[in-house]
C-alpha cells in the first residue's frame, strides 16, 4: 500500500535525522572527554565507552521526542492530516482513501530537511573541528596537567595513608598487592629491625681517650670544711611540685613502666 510505504519512508527519514544528530553530539562529547582525560593520562577507551553510551541514549531519546506532531509543526501543509492518516492505516473506507491520496499529493511538496536544524549543525561541525584540533595538539605534545598515578602515590598519612597509597599505586600500576603485615621485633636486640637501620658495611674506627674518663679511687684530697651559721640553716624545709617537672616525671615514669613490662615479658618467655 502506498500510504504504508510513505510512513515507512517517513520513519526512515526521521531515523536518519535522529542518527545524525546523536552521532554529531557523541563525536563532540568524545573529543571533549578524551582531551580532558588525556591530560590526566587516562585510557582513551574510557572516553569511547562514554561516547557510545551517550550515543545510544541520545538516539532513543531523539526518536521518542520526534512524533508526527513535530513533523506537522515543521510542515504546515501536513497539519492534522498526517496523524489522522497514521491512525487510520489499514482502513479501506472511501473517505480514508481520498484522504490518503490527498496526503500523497501533499508529501510531494514536503522537504524533510526542514526537520534538520542547520544552525545547530553548523555550530556542531565547527566545534568538532576546533576541539579535534585541540585533542591532536595535546596528544602530539604529550601534555600532562597531572598524572593520576603520581597523585595517588603522593598520598601518605601514616600507616593508613600507606595502606591506601599502596592500594592506589597498585591500582595505578595495574596490580593489587596484599596489605603488608606489620612485623614486631621478636628478638632481644633492642635496637629494632636490623633491616630498617642499615649502617652500611664500612668499618667504623671509634677512638676512646682513656685519660679523659679515668677515675683513681686511691687518690686522697683534704676535706673541705665550711662554717655553718645559723642564718644559713633553713628553719622550714619544704618542697613544692614543679608542674613541668611533674609532667616530665609522669612521662618518664610511664616510659620506665613500659620498659619494665617489656623486660618482664621477655623474662617470662
Amino acid at each position: 500500500m502506498e500510504i504504508q510505504k510513505l510512513f515507512d519512508q517517513l520513519e526512515f527519514e526521521l531515523f536518519k535525522i535522529a542518527f545524525l544528530t546523536a552521532f554529531l553530539d557523541s563525536v563532540l562529547l568524545f573529543l571533549i572527554v578524551s582531551t580532558i582525560f588525556s591530560m590526566a593520562n587516562f585510557s582513551p577507551f574510557i572516553s569511547l565507552a562514554i561516547a557510545l553510551i551517550f550515543f545510544t541514549i541520545k538516539l532513543i531519546h531523539t526518536l521518542k521526542r520526534t512524533p508526527l506532531k513535530k513533523v506537522e509543526e515543521k510542515n504546515p501543509s501536513l497539519t492534522e492530516i498526517l496523524r489522522t492518516a497514521k491512525d487510520n492505516l489499514g482502513n479501506d473506507a472511501f473517505m480514508v482513501k481520498a484522504m490518503n491520496e490527498d496526503l500523497l499529493e501533499r508529501m510531494n511538496h514536503v522537504y524533510m530537511g526542514s526537520m534538520v536544524k542547520y544552525k545547530r549543525l553548523f555550530i556542531q561541525t565547527l566545534l568538532i573541528f576546533l576541539i579535534g584540533f585541540a585533542a591532536v595538539f595535546v596528544a602530539a605534545h604529550n601534555t600532562y596537567v597531572v598524572d593520576y598515578e603520581d597523585v595517588a602515590k603522593s598520598i601518605d598519612t601514616g600507616s593508613i595513608g600507606k595502606f591506601f597509597s599502596n592500594s592506589i599505586n597498585a591500582i595505578g600500576s595495574g596490580k593489587i598487592e596484599e596489605i603488608p603485615e606489620i612485623i614486631f621485633n621478636q628478638t632481644e636486640d633492642i635496637y629494632g629491625d636490623p633491616e630498617v637501620a642499615q649502617l652500611g658495611d664500612q668499618a667504623l674506627n671509634i677512638m676512646i681517650q682513656e685519660n679523659l674518663n679515668s677515675i683513681d679511687l686511691n687518690e686522697e684530697v683534704p676535706l673541705e670544711t665550711n662554717e655553718f651559721t645559723t642564718q644559713e640553716y633553713a628553719y622550714d624545709v619544704g618542697g613544692s611540685m614543679d608542674v613541668q617537672g611533674t609532667d616530665r616525671l609522669t612521662q618518664e615514669y610511664k616510659y620506665i613502666n613500659k620498659v619494665e613490662e617489656e623486660l618482664r615479658r621477655r623474662g617470662q618467655k
Binding site: 497539519t79 492518516a85 491520496e101
Partner: protein, 314 residues
C-alpha cells in the same frame, strides 16, 4: 452525482452552491444553515430555539427545495393527537367494499418542521420522538418505514412558556444539535426588508442534489477519518461535563460523544476537508452540548448560560 476518490474535492463546490442557492431566499443566518446541513449529513435531528418571525419555516422549506426533498410542517397545539402526526386508518370504499386504508400522516416526508414542539402533549411528543429514533411508525399491527433521508427540525419558543410541556432532558438528548437563532444584524434586516417589500420577483429555487445523493453523502460523512488524539479530546470534554459539580448538576451522556464526533465529521466534509480537525470539534461543541447539560443552582444564580460553561470547559 457520481463520486470518485479523485473528484471528492468537488463536494466543497457543491455545498458552496447549496449555500449560495439558500442565500437567494434567506438573508444571513449562515451559521443556522450550516448547522442544519450538519444535522442532515449526520442523519440526525435538530432542535431550533428561536423567537417568532426569524424565518425558520422559510429556511427549512428552501432547503428542502434545494435538496429536492419532500417537506411537511406540523404546528403543535395542546390538542394535537399522535395520529395527527403518524397517520390513521380511514374507511375507504373500494369497488363497493368497505376497506380500511392507512392514511399516512405528515411525518411521512423527508424534511419535517415541527413548530413549537413544547406545545404538544407529552403523548404526542413521544410519538414524534419515537418516529425520529426508530425511523418507522407502528400503527395497529402494521409498521411503516419512513422515507430516507428523514430529518426533523423541531422548534421551541423561548418566551410564552405558559401552558407548554417543556421537553424533558432525556428527550432533548435525542436531538443531535440545538440551534439558537438570533435576531439579524441591521444590514441583514435592511436586505430582508428590501427583498420582501419590493416588487421584485423572488428567485426561483432549483434542486441541486437528489435524495439518493444525500443518502450517499450521509454514508461518506460516517467514513470521514479522525485522529485518535482528537477522539480522546472529545471524550475528555464530555467527561468534564460530568466532573464539574460546581457549575453542572448533570453532565452529558455518551450519546453526546457520538454526536460531537459525527458533527465534527460533517463539519469537516462541508468545509471541503477529508479529515477532522480540532477546529471542527471546537465549532460543533456548543450546538451539540448546550442542550445536554443541566446547570447547577450556583451557575444559574450567577447568570451563566450553558454556552458560557461549555466555553469555559473548552
Amino acid at each position: 452525482m457520481a463520486i470518485d476518490v479523485k473528484n471528492i474535492s468537488k463536494l466543497k463546490e457543491t455545498f458552496a452552491n447549496v449555500r449560495k442557492a439558500i442565500s437567494h431566499v434567506i438573508v444571513g443566518q449562515e451559521e443556522v444553515v450550516e448547522q442544519i446541513l450538519v444535522a442532515l449529513l449526520c442523519d440526525g435531528n435538530a432542535l431550533l430555539e428561536s423567537l417568532p418571525g426569524l424565518g425558520k419555516t422559510l429556511t427549512i422549506k428552501t432547503l428542502s427545495k434545494v435538496l429536492d426533498l419532500k417537506f411537511a410542517r406540523i404546528q403543535c397545539t395542546p390538542d394535537l393527537m399522535p395520529s395527527d402526526i403518524t397517520g390513521t386508518y380511514v374507511i375507504d370504499d373500494v369497488k363497493g367494499k368497505k376497506v380500511f386504508n392507512f392514511q399516512k400522516g405528515p411525518i411521512f416526508a423527508n424534511m419535517i418542521l415541527v413548530d413549537e414542539i413544547n406545545r404538544a402533549t407529552p403523548k404526542t411528543q413521544s410519538a414524534l420522538l419515537e418516529a425520529m429514533q426508530e425511523k418507522q411508525v407502528t400503527t395497529g399491527n402494521e409498521t411503516f418505514q419512513l422515507d430516507k433521508p428523514f430529518f426533523v427540525l423541531a422548534t421551541q419558543n423561548p418566551i410564552d412558556q405558559e401552558g407548554t410541556y417543556p421537553l424533558p432532558e432525556a428527550q432533548t438528548d435525542r436531538f443531535l444539535l440545538k440551534i439558537i437563532v438570533n435576531y439579524p444584524p441591521i444590514h441583514d434586516e435592511l436586505e430582508i426588508v428590501n427583498r420582501y417589500t419590493g416588487a421584485k420577483q423572488q428567485t426561483a429555487i432549483h434542486p441541486l442534489l437528489k435524495a439518493q445523493s444525500l443518502v450517499l453523502l450521509q454514508t461518506l460523512t460516517k467514513q470521514v477519518p479522525i485522529a485518535d488524539d482528537l477522539k480522546n479530546k472529545v471524550v475528555t470534554l464530555v467527561n468534564k461535563t460530568r466532573t464539574n459539580p460546581e457549575f453542572i448538576e448533570f453532565g452529558a451522556s455518551p450519546r453526546a460523544s457520538i454526536g460531537l464526533i459525527m458533527a465534527a465529521k460533517a463539519h469537516a466534509l462541508l468545509s471541503g476537508r477529508k479529515f477532522v480537525s480540532a477546529k471542527d470539534i471546537e465549532d460543533m461543541a456548543l450546538p451539540v452540548l448546550r442542550h445536554r447539560i443541566v446547570l447547577s443552582f450556583k451557575a444559574q444564580k450567577e447568570g451563566m448560560t450553558p454556552d458560557d460553561v461549555i466555553k469555559a470547559l473548552l
